[in-house]
Symmetry: C2
Subunit: 240 residues, 2 copies
DNA sequence: AAGTGGTCTAGACCACGGC
DNA sequence: CCGTGGTCTAGACCACTTC
């Protein structure tokens, strides 16, 4: 008897897919009982250890909860904290109509401090995009983002007032974003920013500087954002 | 032959402990090879599956890296992001001498909005502690924290200018803190705060409001902090 | 080729939960 | 009580890395 099926996908993964599908299809809802190890072993014609592997793995991922002596149950949907979202995604999740006005879009070569964040030489060519972000009718933020020009030349021609930068990066350049390190502090507006955001001079602003890394661990985008106070509060979760 | 040793600790956990100890003792350093499944099975007198369980579990925790065909290696030390730290811990990690001045410490009963955050009735008794936090000689923050008075009456007598609140909670009350949900925005100082923090009027401030939960999922402490800009930048990591 | 982790079998006994 | 997950055995073959 073959120890493994001819398919190159391992048995335990096939079992996991089957369970995942039933959950995604709505056939199994949070709290519902999932087939036990023994049932899965019988149904899929595998040994107990294999069925167990499938379930233990899913439990580790948080897809199911296992309770000794009771059974395996569909876990409540996962809530992601500290999730990296584009401005577009954030506003969409709040159900707000958004709009961006591009103030500048082009190549700059004399931003040594920014270049250093990418680990590039001081006079490297960088794409710079400066945008006023609005939600509803109100301007809420001024965002400036930089990318290494040599890697992402494809982006210069993309109309960023219509499409999301995150989306364009993943679509046009095949870059998948993984995480961002952010520095957050408070500052105040100067004349230019007050005018752009339609706020009084010397208003408090939330400043967020983020360096976004790709799945390959490469620094890919640097963004500084100035957000109107009162219109924007950051929510995060910290763990002990 | 007994399928399990007489000890109530499972074999795979004993193997894990042995490996952990060797790492903590410095006998194994990051990058070093860990005993293979077969070696562990032989050494500890268990089957391959059990040795495997021990290693797979450690890999899941990020203690070791496993590379197919190559071996199991000690992983580089884990870096915690978005870690919940007390003010005391934060400053200690920066190597700064700290000091706190207590402005108020006592019981309040008319803070319905705070009480609501704990899921308590509007006139519940709350411990309130208001402190100016300094690093070096400079005041950097005004912090106000609240706790349900009935649960934490033991804390009223603790000298919080000398000991950390986190520490006192865990020591005196047996409460273990798990995570905090934070809201961060920008605001500006009024006369009182400017005086307390020795800053000009109308200076930008970073405001952090955190609701801290215990390991049992119970809202335990509510803290609002106002931080001088320039002296305090928040660092977090977000994930896609 | 030798050694490693990855998958898998066909059973076993134990500890726990709910009826 | 029965069914559940938790631990464990003593092997097996495969896929991969290193030499």
């Amino acid at each position: 008897m073959p120890t493994q099926s001819r398919k190159d996908e391992p048995a335990y993964k096939r079992i996991q897919s089957a369970i995942r599908q039933r959950i995604e299809a709505g056939e199994l809802k949070p709290g519902d009982v999932v087939d036990s190890e023994r049932e899965l072993a019988r149904i899929h014609g595998v040994s107990l250890m294999t069925a167990r592997h499938a379930l233990a793995d899913l439990a580790q991922e948080g897809i199911v909860d296992r309770r000794h002596g009771a059974g395996t149950f569909v876990a409540p949907p996962q809530i992601h904290f500290n999730k990296l979202l584009s401005y577009t995604e954030q506003m969409a999740s709040l159900g707000l109509a958004i709009h961006s006005k591009i103030l500048f879009s082009g190549i700059v070569t004399r931003e040594p401090e920014i270049a250093a964040r990418f680990g590039l030489s001081p006079t490297s060519r960088l794409i710079k995009i400066e945008r006023v972000r609005s939600a509803g009718d109100e301007p809420v933020a001024l965002e400036v983002c930089y990318l290494p020009a040599d890697e992402f030349s494809a982006l210069v021609d993309v109309p960023l007032d219509r499409t999301s930068l995150f989306g364009a990066l993943e679509r046009e350049c095949g870059v998948e974003l993984a995480y961002a390190d952010e520095e957050i502090d408070a500052t105040h507006s100067d004349h230019r920013i007050s005018r752009l955001l339609s706020i009084p001079g010397n208003s408090p602003l939330l400043r967020i500087r983020q360096l976004i890394f790709s799945t390959k661990g490469r620094a890919t985008v640097y963004v500084t954002g100035l957000y109107r106070s009162g219109r924007h509060t950051l929510r995060i979760r910290r763990f002990r």
